[in-house]
Amino acid sequence: MTELTAVQGESSDCELLSFRVGEQEYSVDIMSVREIRGWTRPTPLPHSADYVRGVINLRGTVLPIVDLSRRLGIPVGEASERNVIIVAHIRHQAVGLLVDAVSDILAIPESDMQPPPEMAADSERGFVQSLTIVDGRMLRILDLEAVLPDQAETAA
């Protein structure tokens, strides 16, 4: 019995990459992160959703950039040199997530995660997969699939 719980405890540790968007702290599963890049000016795409900042050249591939602050509806200043792009793999495609700063890599036991409370009709609610507490601060774990630009939406 004891052995079993030990195994469970180990395997359910989730490694997260935490970052800041405006004043809020978010994180994503580190396994979906490919690399972190400095700010490059994206080429804007016509007729795209406002949170799609455009595309950049990632060593020869065209990488769409999603501005997380706009996607999550968090007011921030204009994107600048200090911003960072997290290149993540979502649904077999690479997407760049524009964030303010990358903060830490954390290992959180799965048991410490809790589903987001069902309350406000916050615009960001649909994007948060679960919540946890690190050093007394709340950490939101992003649902990457929900962040992706909707194919049907962009085709319109």
Partner: protein
């Protein structure tokens, strides 16, 4: 060696080989059809079918063996001049080749072939060889690793004076490694006639030095048989190249003048069936052509040369013993350059994915090199500095590599044309017209993807030509034309593009009828003045179909518009020319590659964009007096005597609001396939250059007005416009007013 299932791999390579053989067969038949009934051409066909049969036997593909056997028997009759290759016979052979390729494909995919499709042709083939009864042979055919008693039995040969063959057989180590067993070969030989066997153990090392895996045994065999030499060679077919083999006819017979050449075919290590029948006089040809194949191999390819050396072993000097070889080689190859082209060219099969990767990498290299040149230019180094000079060479190399890599992807359109030949045969048969397909420029090379994606539109066009283009035989004769219609399919390179033409010698487009139908279907307002080319262009409108009778070939209402769409998707254009009574010709113009595009780099609303060069007709400056308002916020531009709708690229893409004035702006005059024109305002034209196309669909999805993206010299992504999409969705707002769109990002 490390493959999980060697059998599957061998099987796969058998089917690839089948494809090549079928292509050779098609080629040969076309040549015979055009009058080349020389022995070698017939032999090429025969050998192709024969090799397919041999391989099929080894894999136990009975269905394929049965058909190939019958086919081969008929071809053998032609080969031995007992059967005249009449036009009808050749047409039957072509149909049989189609069915053969169907059966091959079905065997590969593990599906069964519809016997109804096979049997009639099989019976027709049988009817041609009514005199030759070989039925029992088929049942003899055993699907074992070694197909022993394959066809070709000359039953008419008298048993009285059986020739004696002296066979020297020395297996190499590889023969045993590949799982062959000399005993089976010997017993197969003994089945052909009476066999005397002498085992030569002289090469066997003493017991203490014996290497269990080495081959020390050799046999000298005397075979008295009424079978032909090819039967004997067939026994050794599967160990061809794995042993030293010499077959010499000892008894004086009709073949006594035979030089000891055919054995060389086995020495050469060629993997094709060693089907060199001296009686037919083709052995020298075959050997000579194989020699030309082997010699460069021995020098260049380390893999092949190893195999050749191993196969020829100590007896290799035999190769140079016959002085007649060079002469034979030259006479054999000279008159048939096309037939030999496939033989003499050494090829390597490469996984397409690897080539794709290489193409991508070269794309990167081109971009990288552009970035490097830009930073060197910015660093202000003098042009004669070593860096600048080195860069110059680097650029040259990059360009060469790029060209070479693109060439790897390029393939001759021959395979495509052969498919079309079949379409013509089938479609003409189903509507009872006699149609001949004439092809030209089969060697023209086009990007592989283009070839693949061209098959459907071309099929459609060919069917259209057969069904609508050509008149029926009576009408043709009444018009003084030969009853047999002619469809011509040609390919050529012209000014950096590939031009493919489908033309027929039919009645031409009935413009009155086309116009009537278009009016009836509401595609054009009645009585509108239309030029001939306008009327011809109506054929490309969606939902247009002129076939009076809806045949099962065409007339489903999806017509030339689908064709045009498919060709436009490939970056191509299609146009029609038609002369009443003389025929119609469709011309497709395609880019050489899908990976690179000639574009004009322009700037609009501070963004750099690429406009495909092919759509730009001219560039000009706007003067205020040329602009005329039409409606509240749209304007037209007067160019000479016509008015062209004006659009601001920055506005259409949602990057900005219409400007106060466009005076002095640069305008690109864009023309689409259907003749629609539009004047597109840009802020500046930077340069004209080739850009590497990067798809956006995968990473983002479709964006209105945008075809793809590319990466410029400064590392920035630039979007490539899709003029057609842009113009069909254009708002045409060029006058400042209330903003109606929320601007995106």
């Amino acid at each position: 060696m490390t493959t999980p299932d060697p059998m599957a791999e061998i099987r796969a390579s058998f089917f690839i080989e089948c494809d090549e053989l079928l292509e050779a067969l098609q080629d040969g038949l076309v040549q015979i059809d055009s009058g080349a009934t020389d022995d070698e051409t017939v032999n090429v066909c025969f050998r192709a079918v024969h090799s397919i049969k041999g391989g099929a036997g080894a894999f136990g593909l009975d269905e394929l063996v049965r058909f190939a056997h019958r086919y081969e028997t008929v071809l053998d009759e032609v080969r031995s001049h007992r059967l005249e290759p009449t036009r009808d016979a050749v047409l039957l052979f072509m149909r049989a080749a189609d069915i053969l390729s169907d059966i091959v494909r079905n065997c590969r995919d593990g599906t069964t072939t519809d016997p109804d499709a096979v049997e009639p042709t099989l019976r027709e083939l049988e009817a041609l060889t009514a005199g030759v009864d070989e039925e029992e042979e088929i049942t003899d055919f055993q699907p074992t690793g070694l197909s022993l008693d394959l066809g070709l039995t000359d039953v008419t040969a008298g048993p009285a004076a059986d020739p004696v063959f002296e066979i020297t057989f020395r297996p190499e180590r590889e023969l045993f490694q590949s799982g062959n067993e000399p005993l089976f070969l010997l017993s197969a030989l003994s089945a052909l006639g009476s066999l005397e066997t002498t085992c030569d153990t002289s090469a066997l090392p003493p017991l203490e030095e014996l290497d269990a895996e080495s081959a020390g045994l050799a046999w000298t065999l005397r075979l008295t048989t009424n079978r032909s030499r090819s039967d004997i060679e067939e026994v050794f077919e599967f160990v061809d190249g794995l042993c030293v083999l010499e077959i010499v006819e000892a008894a004086p017979a009709s073949e006594s003048t035979l030089p000891p050449l055919p054995g060389l075919a086995d020495l050469s290590g060629a993997t094709e069936s060693a089907d060199t029948e001296a009686v037919e006089g083709d052995s020298t040809d075959t050997v000579a052509s194989r020699l030309t194949l082997t010699m460069p191999d021995a020098q260049d390819g380390p893999d092949r040369s190893d195999g050749v050396a191993a196969a020829s072993g100590p007896r290799v000097p035999v190769l140079s013993a016959d002085p007649s070889e060079p002469k034979d080689g030259s006479t054999a190859t000279a008159p048939r350059p096309s037939a030999q082209g496939t033989v003499t060219r050494a090829t390597v099969r490469v996984d397409l994915e690897r080539i794709e990767r290489l193409v991508n990498l070269v794309g990167e290299l081109v971009i990288n090199q552009a970035m490097l040149s830009q930073s060197v230019a910015e660093a202000g180094l003098p042009a004669n500095s070593p860096v600048a000079q080195g860069l110059e060479e680097f650029m040259q190399l990059t360009r060469d590599i790029q060209d070479s890599v693109m060439m790897i992807r390029a393939q001759p359109v021959k395979s495509l044309f052969q498919r079309m030949a079949r379409i013509v045969r089938e479609s003409s048969a189903s509507i009872g017209k006699r149609v001949r397909l004439v092809t030209d420029g089969e060697a023209t090379e086009v990007d592989k993807t283009v070839i693949e994606r061209l098959a459907d539109p071309l099929t459609h066009m060919i069917r259209n030509a057969v069904d609508h283009g050509l008149e029926d035989a009576e009408t043709r004769e009444a018009a003084g034309k030969p009853p047999e219609g002619c469809v011509q399919l040609s390919a050529a390179h012209r000014s950096g593009r590939v031009i493919i033409e489908v033309s027929d010698d039919g009645g031409g487009i009935d413009r009155k009828k086309v116009r009537a139908i278009a009016e009836e279907k509401g595609l054009v307002p009645p009585g509108q003045p239309l030029s001939d080319s306008d009327i011809d262009a109506l054929l490309f409108l969606p939902g247009f179909s002129t076939a009076r009778k809806v045949s099962n070939l065409s007339g489903r209402g999806v017509g030339m518009d689908v064709v045009r769409k498919a060709i436009q998707d490939l970056g191509g254009r299609v146009s029609i020319t038609s002369t009443p009574g003389k025929g119609t010709s469709f011309s497709i113009s395609l880019p050489l590659t899908l990976a690179i595009l000639d574009g004009m780099v322009v700037e609009a609303a501070e963004e750099t964009l690429v406009v495909p060069l092919g759509s730009i007709v001219e560039t000009l400056m706007v003067r205020n007096e040329d602009m005329q308002a039409v409606g509240p916020d749209t304007q037209v531009l007067r160019i000479r005597d016509s008015f062209v709708p004006l659009m601001d690229l920055g506005v259409e893409l949602g990057f900005r609001e219409p400007l106060e004035t466009y005076s002095g702006s640069v305008v690109l005059l864009i023309t689409l396939e259907d003749g629609t024109r539009s004047a597109m305002i840009v802020d500046a034209i930077h340069e004209q250059r080739q850009v590497v196309i990067k798809g956006l669909q995968d990473s983002y999805g479709h964006i209105p007005g945008i075809a793809a993206a590319t990466i410029l010299g400064d590392g920035q992504v630039a979007l490539i416009l899709d003029p057609l999409d842009l113009m069909t969705n254009a708002t045409g707002r060029t006058r400042a007013g209330e903003p109606r769109l929320t601007l995106a990002g």
